[in-house]
């Protein structure tokens, strides 16, 4: 509790330092190069604010849906002997492997107006998914949810089953076991997977633009806005990227505040 001694070989500081440099130098360069003078004008632009708002909302909705769908999937994969277990895991990974633009095309091939399911939706309900906020969320889900599923599945697979047995022996039904034992025991993986999913969702751009399109206020997210600005006004685009970084940092720090004590609280 007082001084806790370092149990790691010192040499590890070298690669760890290189890794930190690799992550932070480009961000620092970005911040250094950005035209801070334009910050005011950018922040007061309706387009930017709409894009930030849309990005935040869609990425959070995506994260929410990813939790609702991804946690059950991870549980099924880790805890039951599903026949196609490994194939499903591999397929989850594939959506990360596709270039995002191809992912967008693939989504269009399913949900586009002329595509099998899209046509049904259109004919029966008059609903068309592309060019809507829903499409943005679906595109983000497709590329970002695997992070949650894979992170969580691995943690669930490694978790000791003893506490679940104990809970059941004490009379807890499946839902209660899940809520009070299984999920708390993989809480840190859940947090990590959620953060990864959210970060990937808010950074998503290729699949979104291909599947959902790009209309200010409806489907134009901050990454799209940044990419477009990069075409004509690279400096301003860097400033947008810095704003993106700042927004994300804000959300992450807010989240960490709420989550981290819960994670590390148990350890002395």
């Amino acid at each position: 509790m007082t001084r806790r001694r370092n149990v790691l070989p010192r040499v590890l500081l070298v690669p760890a330092g290189i890794a930190v440099a690799l992550f932070s130098l480009p961000i620092v360069a970005l911040i250094a190069r950005a035209p801070w003078a334009e910050l005011g004008s950018i922040l007061t632009t309706g387009d930017t604010r709409r894009a930030v708002g849309l990005s935040l909302i869609t990425s959070l909705v995506t994260t929410g849906i990813a939790l609702v769908l991804g946690v059950p999937l991870a549980l099924m994969l880790a805890r039951t002997r599903l026949p196609g277990r490994r194939i499903i895991l591999a397929v989850c990974t594939l959506s990360m492997v596709l270039p995002p633009v191809v992912a967008g095309v693939a989504l269009l091939s399913v949900l586009g107006r002329r595509a099998p399911i899209g046509r049904l939706l259109d004919d029966w309900f008059g609903v068309s998914i592309p060019f809507t906020g829903a499409a943005v969320v679906i595109a983000q889900l497709f590329v970002a949810m695997p992070f949650l599923v894979i992170t969580l599945e691995s943690a669930l697979g490694a978790a000791d089953r003893g506490p679940e047995e104990t809970a059941r022996a004490l009379g807890a039904r499946p839902w209660r076991v899940l809520a009070t034992v299984t999920l708390p025991s993989v809480r840190s993986a859940l947090v990590a997977g959620t953060v990864l999913t959210w970060a990937r969702a808010i950074g998503e751009f290729g699949a979104t633009i291909t599947f959902a399109g790009n209309l200010p206020g409806v489907t134009r997210t901050l990454p799209t806005e940044t990419y477009l600005t990069l075409q004509n006004d690279p400096d301003r685009a860097l400033m947008l990227a810095v704003i993106q970084v700042a927004v994300c940092l804000g959300v992450l720090v807010a989240l960490r505040r709420r989550w981290t004590p819960a994670i590390t609280g148990g350890r002395p």
Partner: protein, 219 residues
């Protein structure tokens, strides 16, 4: 011992550059042409950041200007032109005849974003036609506009003629001359000693023939 020649070319010029490369290497066996394809703005950023490019072939004048300003270089040569068309589904089921029909409420329109050249040109064209269009999406590049129409999520879009040449999954409705805009492709030898000959070939009759085959106009 071959000499390497880096050509930075807009992605839409890919097939053209591949053919010119072949011709050039046949004529200059000691030179190995390497074509770096990407969006014009990406290429411009790379060149300004110090990339070792001998030739820059841009899909628009603005990005060429970025490079010229960034490196303090002289004027570029226009080596190709392009024309806008209205892209529709094969057989034109909605009977779109011209820009006016793009304003119809039953027509889902995809345009390129005004930030990219094709979007800028499309706006100019619509302006000349005096039509106000409410597009469903502003794509990041013109190919995406064609893809939209090809997949059927959009009924019509505005793209370059070269984008639809030889494609069966879309059809083109020509734009009348009075609404047409001038689309120019500039090329510049960043390193005149090595890049100059390549630019020469591109602007020679050999290059022009290749460009025409791909649907480009030649000045």
């Amino acid at each position: 011992d071959t000499q390497r020649l880096n050509v930075f070319a807009a992605a839409s010029l890919g097939p053209v550059m591949a053919d010119v490369e072949q011709e050039f290497e046949a004529a200059n066996p000691e030179v190995d042409v390497v074509v770096n394809l990407a969006g014009s703005s990406t290429l411009a950023a790379q060149i300004v950041a110090g990339a070792d490019a001998a030739v820059f072939a841009s899909a628009n004048v603005a990005q060429m200007d970025v490079v010229r300003d960034g490196l303090g270089l002289g004027a570029a040569t226009v080596f190709a032109t392009n024309a806008l068309v209205i892209v529709v589904a094969p057989g034109n089921p909605l009977g779109i005849a011209g820009a006016d029909d793009l304003a119809r409420p039953d027509v889902v329109v995809a345009l390129a974003a005004p930030e990219v050249p094709a979007g800028d040109y499309a706006l100019q064209m619509l302006g000349r036609a005096g039509v106000e269009v409410a597009p469903s999406t502003l794509e990041l590049d013109v190919r995406a506009v064609v893809t939209r129409v090809a997949l059927g999520d959009a009924d019509a879009g505005i793209a370059y003629l070269t984008d639809v040449v030889g494609r069966a999954d879309v059809a083109a409705v020509p734009v009348p001359d009075d609404q047409q805009v001038l689309v120019e492709y500039p090329v510049l030898a960043i390193d005149p000693s090595t890049g100059g000959p390549f630019v020469e070939m591109l602007t020679s009759e050999i290059g022009r023939a290749i460009l025409r085959d791909a649907g480009f106009g030649t000045p």
